[in-house]
């Protein structure tokens, strides 16, 4: 049984390494350099982010976190209510950016899940 589980997770990990991870990186950088004009300034400002946070995420590579905030807002606006309150940015996000953001978030969730499973298997290896 456990051998079968290892086999499945092993195949998923190969899928992650060869396909999901490169696509995630590609989409992350695509999103980073193609954030719709004006959206960054609209979202990344006080009071949504503190002055400290803004200073921190203004330079690469930390600016990727700002990209993640924009991408998550584009893909699933309702999940960012704690930060943005009732502000609705969906009208300002073009459809193609919403699509790539949604795929990115989906792949990150699946990829993260695979990594967690692989880590669990890595721990189980010690006992099997």
């Amino acid at each position: 049984m456990i051998e079968l589980a290892f086999d499945i997770v092993g195949k998923l990990l190969v899928l992650y390494l060869l396909f999901l991870f490169p696509v995630i990186l590609l989409l992350l950088f695509y999103s980073h350099f193609n954030i719709p004009h004006g959206l960054r300034e609209e979202m990344l400002r006080e009071p949504f982010f503190s002055a400290e946070e803004l200073a921190r995420i203004s330079a690469f590579p930390m600016s990727l976190l700002a990209t993640l905030a924009v991408v998550r807002t584009a893909a699933a606006p309702s999940t960012m209510r704690r930060r943005f309150g009732s502000h609705d940015f969906s009208g300002k996000v073009p459809t193609h950016f919403k699509c790539t953001s949604f795929i990115f978030v989906l792949f990150v969730l699946i990829g993260g899940g695979i990594c967690l499973l692989a880590a669990l298997c890595g721990v189980l290896l010690e006992f099997v």
């Binding site: 290892f6 086999d7 997770v9 092993g10 990990l13 190969v14 992650y16 390494l17 999901l20 991870f21 995630i24 990186l25 992350l28 503190s50 002055a51 400290e52 946070e53 921190r56 930390m62 990727l64 976190l65 993640l68 905030a69 991408v71 998550r72 999940t79 960012m80 704690r82 930060r83 978030v105 990150v108 969730l109 990829g111 993260g112 695979i114 990594c115 967690l116 692989a118 880590a119 669990l120 298997c121 890595g122 721990v123 290896l125």
Partner: protein, 326 residues
């Protein structure tokens, strides 16, 4: 009885060795007292043995916080000579070659372990922790503003006291007791974050000192994260260069690549979760440690999968990794 404070890295029937990160205020005799429960004249031969095992220490008085030492248990056990032992010494060499402030910060952020696998993934974790500490400094700085308002007579003492107490309680809630103890050197936040009694022109100095210290830790952790990641990959490079078997070389490469990719993947996942709300330190440190562990464990599993199912696939040679790692 010896006090056991760290995970033993390599064991034989004769004993085991650990890597010990020197803390602020440590001396060799203090370390011997703490780790071996020996003091006075009984400590002298142990100190001598530590100096022999750590030849980069020029004098017993010259150790610095963040430096790594190899400690052997029992102290008079014969030397352990294995391939892993070489790796341990290389790990130590890489670590001790980093900037001193970075080593010190990494030793402060005690969740970073010192074996090579953890170094790969720990880099991302440290970077994240730095960012998160940074983002929580504003409420602490706001207390200074309120204190100045109180001194200027704009608000009453009880309003200031209530505000300070409220902010510190929130902070304690977010970071949790273990992180509070780590960041404030064993003290509680409300004990560490105090203005100078009696007021005066420099009343805010001790308080701001604490805030500045945390700010420095945050900056160094972010920077140190990248250094650690690079050091981890460098170690794999070293292992590849010093392994004869082609399959073993490929396995090491798979572990390093998969561990780094898994660490990054989980790091992005964690980043996606974190950006939605203000971030607490305790959560951050726990998540950072978790991310590091996930990268390490996933890398191990990837090595196993490669060894069991794909050992006919060549990686190091076609990618010319061995030409880089000499």
């Amino acid at each position: 009885m010896e006090k056991f404070k760290s995970t033993p890295l390599f064991c034989t029937a004769d004993g085991y060795e650990i890597l010990y990160a020197v803390k602020r205020g440590d001396t060799l005799t203090g370390i011997v007292r703490e780790q071996y429960n020996l003091f006075g004249s009984a400590a002298a031969p142990v100190v001598q043995r530590i100096l022999e095992n750590n030849q980069e220490i020029k004098s017993a008085d010259l150790i610095y916080s963040g430096q790594l030492l190899v400690l052997r248990f029992p102290w008079d056990a014969p030397e352990i000579r294995t391939a892993e032992q070489d790796e341990l010494r290389q790990t130590k060499k890489h670590w001790n070659g980093l900037d001193k402030p970075l080593q010190e910060t990494m030793a402060d952020l005690a969740y970073i372990d010192t074996i090579s696998g953890i170094l790969h993934a720990g880099g991302g974790g440290a970077t994240g922790a730095g960012l998160l500490i940074q983002s929580n400094l504003k409420p602490m700085k706001d207390i200074v503003g309120k204190y100045e308002d109180y001194r200027a007579g704009k608000i009453t003492r009880s309003v200031y006291g209530h505000y300070r107490s409220d902010q510190i309680k929130q902070l304690q809630k977010r970071i949790g007791r273990p992180a509070e103890s780590l960041l404030f050197k064993g003290k509680k936040a409300n004990e560490a974050l105090r203005m100078k009694p009696g007021g005066g022109p420099n009343a805010t100095r001790p308080y701001l000192g604490q805030v500045n210290r945390l700010q420095k830790i945050a900056g160094k952790a972010s920077k140190g994260g990248f250094v650690l990641a690079a050091a981890g990959l460098g170690l794999s490079c070293y292992e590849i260069a010093h392994t004869d078997s082609v399959v073993e070389k490929d396995k090491i490469a798979v572990e390093a690549i998969a561990g780094t990719a898994a660490g990054l993947g989980v790091g992005i996942l964690v980043g996606l979760f974190l950006v939605s709300n203000p971030i607490g330190w305790g959560t951050a440190i726990i998540i950072a440690a978790g991310t590091a562990a996930v990268g390490y464990a996933a890398g191990n599993f990837a090595g196993h999968v490669y060894h069991e199912n794909h050992s006919d696939v060549r990686i190091v040679e076609p990618l010319m990794i061995d030409r880089v790692c000499r």
